[in-house]
């Protein structure tokens, strides 16, 4: 009896620890974003802004009206979305073949995906830097979309093939027997069943592209294509000897909002997607 009580107490304490672990640094960066520039320059240790050291929304106003920052947001959204859509299309074709068809070279595809998932991306920036400049796609959207696609394909292929293995494909034939045309059978039966998987793969791909830093700083040089993480790291403000901590924090919060919104809406799907491929259940 006492044992099970202790178990329950342990679980509750554990759950609280998880919440603190996950949310404390996020709360910290939000709190920092409300400290005033002046307070930060003079030094304001402590978790919350001190009285008189608060900035209200002014850091956010500065960030949003900053041209470079706005440009970086647009770059990040555009590049990540295009890379996501293309990557998911290619991954869907490949995952269908892996889950449904017998063909030679299936192991080769899966091995390639595994190697690429573990590839040390920095070892590519030298040759890519050189090649992209020769091809004229250095510092363009395309120059980032291509590597993002290749590096998100493994995760997208795994997620999608795990989903596709679970789809009862006989239902397609059953619908046709019942008088549906093959297009109707595909659209009304298979598409709704496959959609959650495609969707999960898309979210995970988007996360990867949004998070990338190595390609973002190596393959861009101007605000023409520089994505958010790179822009944040170069964002030093007017005084280079004094990093505008609270302004950076406001920028970081703005850059994190899209991700948090996606997580809040699609929590179930993301968890299923992250674990569906990784461990067969």
């Amino acid at each position: 009896m006492t044992n099970s009580v202790w178990n329950k107490v342990g679980t509750v304490v554990g759950a609280l620890l998880i919440l603190v672990w996950c949310l404390l640094p996020v709360a910290w960066i939000i709190s920092l974003s409300f400290k005033s520039q002046e307070a930060v320059t003079n030094g304001s240790p402590g978790f919350f802004p001190k009285s008189g050291g608060g900035a209200g929304w002014s850091n956010y106003k500065d960030v949003i009206t900053d041209d470079q920052f706005g440009r970086a947001i647009i770059n990040s959204i555009g590049i990540s979305l295009i890379a996501t859509i293309l990557s998911v299309i290619f991954a869907t074709l490949a995952a269908y073949a892996i889950a449904r068809l017998e063909f030679k070279g299936k192991r080769f595809v899966l091995t390639t995906a595994l190697v690429i998932a573990m590839f040390p991306v920095v070892s590519l920036v030298g040759p890519l830097f050189d090649m992209w400049r020769t091809l004229g796609i250095y510092d363009t959207w395309l120059g980032l979309i291509i590597p993002y696609m290749s590096f998100t394909l493994p995760l997208a292929i795994w997620t999608l093939s795990a989903f596709f293995r679970e789809i009862p494909w006989e239902m397609e034939q059953a619908a046709q027997v019942d008088g549906a045309t093959s297009w109707q059978a595909f659209r009304k039966v298979i598409v709704p069943l496959a959609a959650p998987g495609v969707f999960t793969a898309a979210i995970l791909t988007f996360f990867f592209a949004w998070n990338d830093f190595v390609f973002g700083i190596s393959l861009t040089s101007t605000e023409n294509a520089r994505p958010i993480p790179a822009a944040l790291s170069f964002f030093v403000g007017a005084d280079p000897f004094n990093r505008p901590a609270s302004l950076l924090a406001a920028g970081a919060v703005v850059a994190t909002v899209p991700v948090v919104v996606l997580v809040l809406f699609f929590q179930r799907k993301i968890v299923a997607g992250l674990t569906a491929g990784a461990v067969k259940g």
């Binding site: 640094p25 240790p45 074709l93 995906a113 040390p120 590597p147 998070n211 700083i217 970081a252």
Partner: protein, 307 residues
């Protein structure tokens, strides 16, 4: 297995099998081409460039120097210092992530209330950009604007974490561990879900203590999930770059091997020696992967997600 199947298949099926084979290959072709285009081809190019003394600031002076770039890199103490840093970060962060991640997975497996809230919040560190995590922790550890010094009882309020090697490394690893533990715990949660409750119950009836059940029943039964998670996380940790770039920029000898390669190529435009470092980085990842797969006997079919 598949050999026997093809041998005994009736001949009229071979046309179909051939059509299926070619359709399969056509469907995977675009993905394969794209993956190799951005990895295999540039790697071969790096292999080629690494044999030259080649700087982008003086592209016309490019000359063939054979393996001397490799000699330079391998005989430089900087290379070994950064390799040791990288391996150290990999071992320490993965060990912490494994223990904390497992504890989190156990809690998530058992918790009944607020399941959705906990799973949503565990995804937030996973979704936060690494650069942002680096900033958050850098400012948290800062002695002028942070809170860590005020909260930790054993450090003075004006202790500067970024003034020396080991405390800088602690800060870098804190950011790394914070951000990636949730991913680890989700992989372990999936493994935990596969351990049958009947088995645990049977061990309980037989009088096994909680500790015995953990070590004799739960862990052995989720061994392959743990190994795959370790393999993925270890190789990801070996690539550490973002956190170091943001938090210390390599100051106080905190540079990683990825950072060294980046500096040679992008900041110094030394494509020759930079390419040699790229090749060495790639080879060292292969060695690390090989060691992990052999030592921990990772089931590669599982890692490849054959199903």
């Amino acid at each position: 297995m598949s050999h026997a199947a093809t041998a005994t298949a009736p001949p009229r099926d071979s046309d179909r099998a051939r059509a299926e084979n070619s359709l399969g290959r056509r469907l995977v072709a675009p993905a394969i081409v794209l993956m190799l285009l951005v990895t295999a081809f540039p790697m071969l190019r790096a292999l080629y460039l690494s044999l030259f003394n080649y700087s982008l600031t003086a592209p016309d002076d490019r000359e063939f120097v054979g393996l001397s770039n490799y000699m330079t890199a391998l005989s430089d103490s900087l290379f070994w210092r950064d390799t040791i840093n990288t391996v150290g970060i990999m071992i320490i962060t993965v060990a912490f992530e494994l223990v904390i991640g497992f504890a989190f997975a156990m809690v998530m497996h058992r918790v009944i209330f607020a399941r959705g809230t906990i799973r949503t919040s565990i995804l937030i560190p996973y979704g936060v950009i690494t650069v942002v995590s680096g900033f958050a922790w850098q400012f948290a550890f800062s002695n002028t604007n942070g809170f860590v010094n005020g909260w930790l009882p054993f450090v003075g309020t004006d202790f500067n974490w970024f003034s020396e090697y080991s405390s800088s490394m602690v800060a870098i690893m804190a950011s790394e561990i914070w951000k990636t533990t949730p991913f680890m715990s989700l992989l372990l949660l999936a493994g935990l879900a596969q351990v049958s409750d009947d088995m645990i119950e049977a061990a309980k009836v037989d009088g096994a203590s909680w500790w015995q059940r953990l070590w004799r029943v739960i862990l052995p039964n989720m061994r392959s999930a743990i190994m795959v998670a370790v393999l993925f996380r270890a190789l990801d940790a070996y690539r550490i770059f973002d956190n170091i770039f943001v938090m210390t920029a390599g100051a106080n000898n905190t540079e990683s091997i990825s950072f060294l390669t980046y500096r040679q190529v992008i900041e110094q435009f030394q494509l020759g020696i930079g390419s040699a470092l790229s090749v060495l980085l790639f080879l060292s990842v292969l060695v690390v992967a090989f060691v992990i797969v052999k030592v921990f006997r990772v089931n590669l079919a599982e890692a490849r997600q054959e199903g």
